[in-house]
């Protein structure tokens, strides 16, 4: 019995959404906070909040990824793509304590302001999402 095209399309959308949500999760929730944190305070490379809540963040990003995949080919593709980026960035911002990292080193409290890199990532990420959304809003697949 051949598979109903609607079912296969739905499955394809779901897979694509989960994969893209996972990629956004890796970029914004794992890589960016760990990289920025490692730059600022080498002794605390993995933010504690990431360890305790990684499943929640993964769920949020995957759900948003599926939403963006469902919106593909419609005018909602642009806002959906930008929403995934914005939420991912906000999670990064929260994990990095608003971009100001604190650590202690040999009796000194060290604070490092990494906000410039966070803002640059936000602007570039939103531009990329806009281009990606515009591209997918004109494609059907």
């Amino acid at each position: 019995m051949p598979l109903d095209p609607r079912v296969s399309r739905a499955a394809w959308v779901a897979v694509r959404g989960v994969v893209s949500g996972f990629l956004y999760y890796i970029v914004y929730v794992v890589a960016l906070p760990i990289l920025a944190s490692a730059m600022g305070t080498p002794q605390a490379a993995v933010p504690a909040a990431l360890k305790s809540s990684f499943l929640i963040y993964l769920g949020v990003m995957t759900a948003l990824g599926v939403g963006a995949a469902l919106a593909r080919g419609t005018p909602a593709a642009v806002p959906a793509n930008m929403l995934v980026t914005a939420v991912g960035w906000l999670i990064s911002y929260k994990l990095l304590s608003g971009g100001i990292l604190h650590g202690s080193l040999e009796g000194y409290t060290v604070s490092v302001d990494v906000r410039p890199i966070l803002y640059a990532v936000l602007v570039l990420g939103l531009l990329y999402s806009l281009a990606s959304g515009l591209e997918s809003s004109t494609s059907s697949g």
Partner: protein, 118 residues
């Protein structure tokens, strides 16, 4: 055309992020290998004193300030080498009383770093 623009934006964006991260990464790597990358000393001099900042890193630092309790001594731009700034008698007295309690500076004019005792 949009796909090409998106790819160019992705590649260009990654390059921009790496370029922005480079000064901080270089400074942190140098600081990790050389804990004495910044050394601040006070020398007595007629009419006050001299604050001597010796820096061994490759990234120039700006807005460099030294703290002695509530007293802030503005050093300004610091590059590799030694920079000395004159101290007023009040600043010297604050350093003698409290010691040097902290430093703050910017790397590449972007990233602020503050190190305070305690």
């Amino acid at each position: 055309m949009m796909a090409g623009f998106r790819v160019a934006l992705g590649v260009g964006g990654a390059a921009v992020v790496i370029a922005l991260l480079a000064p901080l990464a270089i400074f942190m790597a140098e600081a990790a290998h050389n804990p004495g990358i910044i050394e601040v000393e006070v020398e007595a001099a007629p009419g006050g004193g001299l604050l001597r900042v010796a820096y061994n890193g490759s990234m120039p630092l700006s807005d460099f300030e030294v703290y002695a309790g509530d007293t802030v001594i503005h050093v300004g731009y610091v590059s590799r080498g030694v920079k000395t700034v004159p101290l007023t008698p009040q600043q010297l007295a604050a350093i003698e009383e409290r010691g040097i309690t902290g430093l703050s500076f910017k790397i590449a004019g972007l990233y602020s770093i503050k190190q305070v005792k305690g």
